[in-house]
């Protein structure tokens, strides 16, 4: 058999290319397959033989000394490269396996070049000349930003990706590889980078065009395969490279010069599980659609629309088989009208919207993500080398002197010590990655001090799998935690977002803060219901204060929080209307929390706005009396009502309420704890006492039942004091004169002494004098 070289220029992740590659390989029967993957991936290529390696997976390479310097090469079922690997390494019964070689520039050089580029970018940043931040990679999308796009746009095709889909990735027959290579060769000759390397490349390896360097490496690999005695060589590469790899190859010397002196870096290469979702984030591909096209190339409409209908039904919408039939007919008619042999994604999308979703784009959006992504996760065999995330985690754990032991233990962390602080941050980050190493033992958010944390830690060996799973989020613990937090924020509700923000702060993930705040702001605006807004405010106030404590003030958080408070205030009067007793009780507790938070927030303008909203709500007749009472109370506590005004309001409530239940509810909301309201304001107590005394037996029973709970929320000493006052009132009309009567009879100086000593020590007073003064006043009141 004569020597032959077959170059298959594909579209990365193109299902048509994937099918075409298999057909072409079957026809050509090569004795070696060369794939555009980094050369040093050869070492782990053997794992692809294992059936446990199931796409979507990614080849991961990372610098041994800095896992944050990493690159992924994702492969899905519909990736031509994967199909080529499968064809060669898992031949089945009929053929024998064919060797595979990776021919792209080895990652050891690629990452070293990336690192150098990153440094020079930083230098540019320092010079105040911001680079555009885009990593230049012709692979990002075959057609993105390259001459082909310009050419197509010039010839009137506004959607080059769609054009490629329709013309090259033909649903039947597979792509015409030779014609594509020729066309791209022509385009590159006119507009693009040169096909052959320059005869004298720049001395500085960093200044050479990366694309040309990579193609030189690929050509060298082809020559190497030829030298090793392979006769029939098949090359699977991006279509953009195809013309540069065809025979006759240019002289070898130029390629050698281009590859000379490239920087090197020690790297690890391994396989990691990947997901369709991650694949979709990084490329313009819709994994669900691509996978579907691979399965049923010639008639995609029925299967696709049936799945859309099934998803709709799962969400409770009607989508009958009859509608699917109509949708298929519409999609086919649209395809015919638009001059396509088979319905394309846009035809199916239009048909889904018009027929299955009643034209409602909101419904269509609900299923769009599931349809287009069709989430699934790949797996890698157990023997694959450990991942970068694991390396980083081990290093971080060593640095924080945290041993990963299976035995469960409790750790007290004092965040004022740098080592404990580092441990806390690591544990928080690991927790955010869903790796169950440590759990906060006590409720961290509500603990009294902000500098103490308690963790229950235990390393279960099975957690290694969780690390592998989490490695799809990134190569460092910090980077991965940030990515995951931001990803989950996209679908989180308001209170969860508020909690996530707190997590980001505690886990020191500064890069997650801005996206989280953006989500928070958007979610707050879309939120039709006020309850989640109210629920989120206290947590956010805590977070804002916590950030201040930790010395990382978040001005942006304050902005969002202020906006949230504005929304809460605007909606409050309406949101409080028309609740029953049970709901009002919950709301009342929530009002307390929000009120306390806004007072803590320490912004007079916002407090004023909040009080104004409360005042507005107080004037509405359709708000439950429990809430009305509570609102009056909150306003007194905040000093927005004077005791006289409060007494007037109380008196009004007791006189105008429609029935005794209404009045008692109002009172219950009003007097519930905390504090010594009734003790300090005898006027109010008098009103209450008089009202209760004047009630008939039946009314009194109702009122007492409601008031019991309110008084139950007061602490014992407060209740005693009130009881004392009431007793005094009934004994002699002009009994109590001042609030100083808190002490009252029965005050035990002996039992109070230890407390007085401690208080004096705190306040820097003379303990003996304080005790003496206390004893004196106790006697006087007795």
């Amino acid at each position: 058999m004569s020597d032959a070289l077959l170059v298959l220029g594909v579209r990365h992740h193109g299902p048509g290319s994937a099918r075409g590659v298999v057909a072409a390989l079957d026809g050509f029967a090569p004795d070696v397959v060369l794939v555009e993957l980094p050369g040093d991936a050869d070492a782990v290529l053997g794992f692809a033989r294992d059936a446990e390696l199931e796409p979507p997976v990614a080849l991961l390479s990372y610098a041994a000394d800095d896992p944050s310097l990493a690159a992924f090469w994702p492969l899905a079922d519909f990736s031509p490269e994967w199909q080529a690997l499968r064809w060669a390494l898992r031949p089945g019964e009929a053929r024998t396996a064919v060797p595979v070689r990776c021919i792209d520039l080895p990652a050891t050089h690629q990452l070293a070049l990336d690192a150098a580029a990153r440094e020079s970018d930083d230098a540019l940043d320092d010079a105040g000349d911001a680079p555009d931040g885009e990593v230049d990679s012709p692979e990002a999308g075959l057609l993105a930003g390259d001459p082909l796009r310009a050419l197509l746009a010039a010839s009137g095709h506004d959607d080059p990706d769609g054009w490629w889909e329709a013309v090259i990735e033909r649903p039947t027959g597979g792509p015409p590889f030779a014609a594509v290579a020729e066309a791209i060769g022509a385009v590159r000759a006119e507009l693009g980078p040169p096909l052959a390397p320059p005869s004298a490349p720049a001395d500085d390896p960093l200044a050479r065009d990366r694309l040309l360097v990579r193609e030189a490496a690929m050509r060298q690999a082809i020559r190497g395969a030829r030298k090793d005695g392979f006769a029939r060589i098949a090359v699977v590469c991006g279509a953009f490279h195809a013309p540069a790899l065809r025979e006759p190859l240019p002289p070898q010397a130029a390629d050698q010069r281009l590859l000379r002196g490239l920087p090197k870096r020690k790297v690890h290469v391994t396989w990691v599980p990947w997901t369709h979702g991650r694949l979709a984030e990084a490329t313009a591909v819709s994994p669900g659609w691509a996978a579907h096209c691979l399965r049923v190339p010639s008639a995609p409409a029925p299967g696709w629309l049936a799945r859309a209908a099934a998803l709709l039904r799962a969400r409770g919408s009607n989508a009958s088989t009859a509608q699917v039939i109509d949708a298929v007919r519409l999609a086919d008619a649209l395809a015919a009208m638009r001059g396509r042999p088979v319905a394309a994604l846009s035809d199916l999308r239009d048909a889904t919207l018009a027929t299955l979703c009643d034209g409602d784009p909101v419904v269509a959006e609900l299923i769009e993500r599931d349809l287009l992504i069709d989430e699934r996760q790949g797996s890698v065999p157990e023997g694959a080398p450990s991942v970068a995330l694991e390396t980083d985690l081990a290093a971080r754990a060593r640095g924080a002197r945290l041993k990963r032991e299976p035995r469960s233990a409790t750790r007290e962390l004092d965040l004022r010590r740098p080592l404990d602080q580092a441990r806390s941050v690591l544990l928080h980050q690991v927790r955010l990655l869903g790796i169950g190493w440590g759990e906060p033992a006590a409720d961290v958010r509500r603990s009294t001090g902000t500098f103490r944390e308690t963790w229950a830690v235990a390393w279960d060996p099975a957690l290694a799998l969780d690390v592998v799973e989490a490695s799809r989020w990134g190569t460092t613990v910090q980077g991965a935690a940030t990515a995951r937090l931001c990803h989950e924020a996209l679908t989180a509700e308001l209170p969860q977002l508020a909690a996530a923000l707190g997590d980001a702060l505690r886990a020191e993930l500064p890069e997650a803060v801005a996206p989280l705040l953006a989500c928070l702001d958007r979610r707050a605006a879309w939120q039709p219901d006020l309850a989640p807004v109210l629920e989120a405010i206290p947590g956010l106030v805590d977070t804002a204060r916590y950030g201040d404590v930790r010395g990382t003030p978040l001005p942006a958080l304050r902005d969002v929080l202020d906006a949230l408070i504005v929304r809460a205030c605007a909606g409050l009067p309406t949101a409080l209307r028309g609740h029953d007793a049970a709901a009002s009780e919950e709301l009342s507790a929530q009002l307390d929390e929000v009120h306390a938070a806004i007072v803590l927030h320490d912004d007079p303008a916002q407090l004023e706005r909040w009080l104004a909203a409360l005042a507005l709500a107080a004037g509405r007749a359709d708000v439950h009396p429990l809430l009305l009472g509570r609102i009056a109370r909150l306003r007194i506590d905040a000093g927005a009502l004077t005791p006289e005004q409060a007494a007037a309001a109380f008196g009004r409530a007791l006189s105008i309420g429609p029935d005794v239940e209404w009045r008692a509810n109002w009172t219950a909301g009003f007097v519930a704890g905390p504090g010594l309201l009734l003790v300090h304001h005898p006027l109010l107590l008098e009103l209450l006492d008089d009202w209760l005394a004047a009630l008939g037996e039946e009314d009194a029973r109702i009122a007492v039942a409601l008031l019991r709970r309110a008084f139950g929320s007061l602490i014992l000493a407060e209740r005693r004091a009130i009881a004392g006052l009431v007793r005094g009132r009934s004994g002699e009309a002009a009994g109590v004169t001042s609030g100083a009567g808190v002490g009252g009879a029965g005050l035990d100086v002996h039992r109070a002494t230890p407390a007085l000593h401690r208080a004096s020590a705190v306040l820097g007073l003379d303990p003996a004098a304080v005790v003496a003064a206390f004893a004196g006043s106790a006697e006087a009141s007795a």
Partner: protein
């Protein structure tokens, strides 16, 4: 003769364009006057095979019109939804004119529409004289369309009482209309289809039953895509209306029109035009038509009771009335919008103050 008419039908006005497009020689579905591609060109504008220029009848996304035409080509029926003023009726008239050459087979849906209008009625004088007979039967536009293989149009489908709507189900699924009195039926000729329009935001008047709904392919016609496009529509219509209402000329309307359109678009879209602040949307439609009436109302105020210059105070009341349709939810939306957007926007102080004044 169409010159003397107040408003000629589409097929009369554009007879020349339709004739030019009919000469394209492509395959047509049975009974169609034009090929599907030619119908799309007729609606969206372009050029007929002979070089005759075709004026655009509808300005909007091409894919909507393609879906509409493909729907009718597969003998399905078409439901056009949209807020008022999104050219539903306009599109349906032109589709019927282009496909059947006849846009007059029309049923106007009202709460008083009976099933005579959808099935058939009787000429009672002849019914009494002759008994039930073909001659005494008065066909509805739908029945006529079925016989001819033409497009029947039903306007405001959701205004028609539910039991009358359901008379359509047999027509749409079986493509027959039984006439039990004559022991006969009318079977639809190929090419028959129904184009119905309904008001998207007027929900709940007479909601379509799901049985009926799934016999239609639904297309939602959007509001104008860009700010400038909408400002232009409003400006033109306001000028026309102002002239016909004989309002005295009012100055500086452009700036206020721009503000009204901005507010309406932002509230509809749920975000400010710069995309930086998200806002809630009110329950009302806030259509272009309402923007037009807010501005016209403001101009009447300015002309008759103000200083003849359209200002913030003149439009604030109208905007409030257009936004607040639901007395419970909408004031919240409006207050939030006022506080988060209007208050902070440069040069909008006067509007903020005016809005507070009318809102109090």
């Amino acid at each position: 003769m169409s010159d003397s008419l107040l408003r000629p039908h589409a097929e009369q006005t554009y007879a020349a364009e339709l004739a030019a497009l009919a000469a394209d020689g492509r395959t047509r579905p049975p009974s169609w006057q034009l090929s599907p591609a030619a119908v799309v060109t007729y609606l969206l504008g372009g050029e007929a095979p002979g070089g005759t220029p075709i004026t655009p009848k509808y300005v909007g996304p091409r894919r909507l019109i393609e879906v509409a035409v493909a729907t009718l080509a597969t003998d399905r029926s078409l439901l056009l939804l949209g807020v008022p003023g999104t050219a539903k009726t306009w599109v349906s008239e032109h589709l019927a004119a282009a496909i059947s050459g006849d846009s007059t087979l029309l049923v106007q849906g009202t709460s008083g529409t009976t099933d005579d209008a959808i099935r058939y009625g009787w000429n009672y004088a002849r019914l009494l004289a002759e008994g039930p007979s073909e001659g005494a039967l008065v066909p509805s536009p739908v029945m006529t369309a079925m016989r001819r293989g033409a497009i029947a149009r039903i306007e405001e489908l959701t205004r028609i009482p539910a039991d009358v709507q359901d008379a359509l189900i047999t027509v749409l699924s079986e493509k027959t209309l039984p006439v039990p009195e004559l022991e006969s039926e009318v079977q639809a000729v190929k090419g028959f289809a129904v184009i119905a329009t309904a008001n998207d935001r007027d929900r709940g008047v007479n909601e379509l039953s799901s049985a009926l709904r799934r016999r239609f392919n639904t297309i939602v016609l959007p509001v104008p895509a860009t700010h400038d496009e909408e400002v232009q529509i409003v400006t033109r219509r306001v000028a026309e209306l102002g002239a016909s209402l004989e309002l005295p000329p009012v100055e500086a309307a452009d700036e206020e029109i721009r503000r009204v359109v901005t507010i309406f678009r932002e509230l509809r879209a749920g975000a400010t035009e710069d995309g930086r602040v998200a806002v809630k949307s009110p329950s009302g439609t806030l259509s272009t038509a309402e923007a037009i009436s807010v501005v016209t109302g403001g101009m009447a105020l300015a002309a008759h009771f103000g200083d003849g210059v359209l200002g913030a105070a003149d439009i604030a009341g109208g905007i409030l009335g257009a936004v607040v349709k639901d007395p419970v939810a909408d004031p919240v939306v409006w207050n939030e919008y006022l506080e988060t957007v209007v208050r902070t926007r440069d040069g909008w102080d006067d509007l903020y103050r005016a809005a507070l004044e009318v809102g109090a």
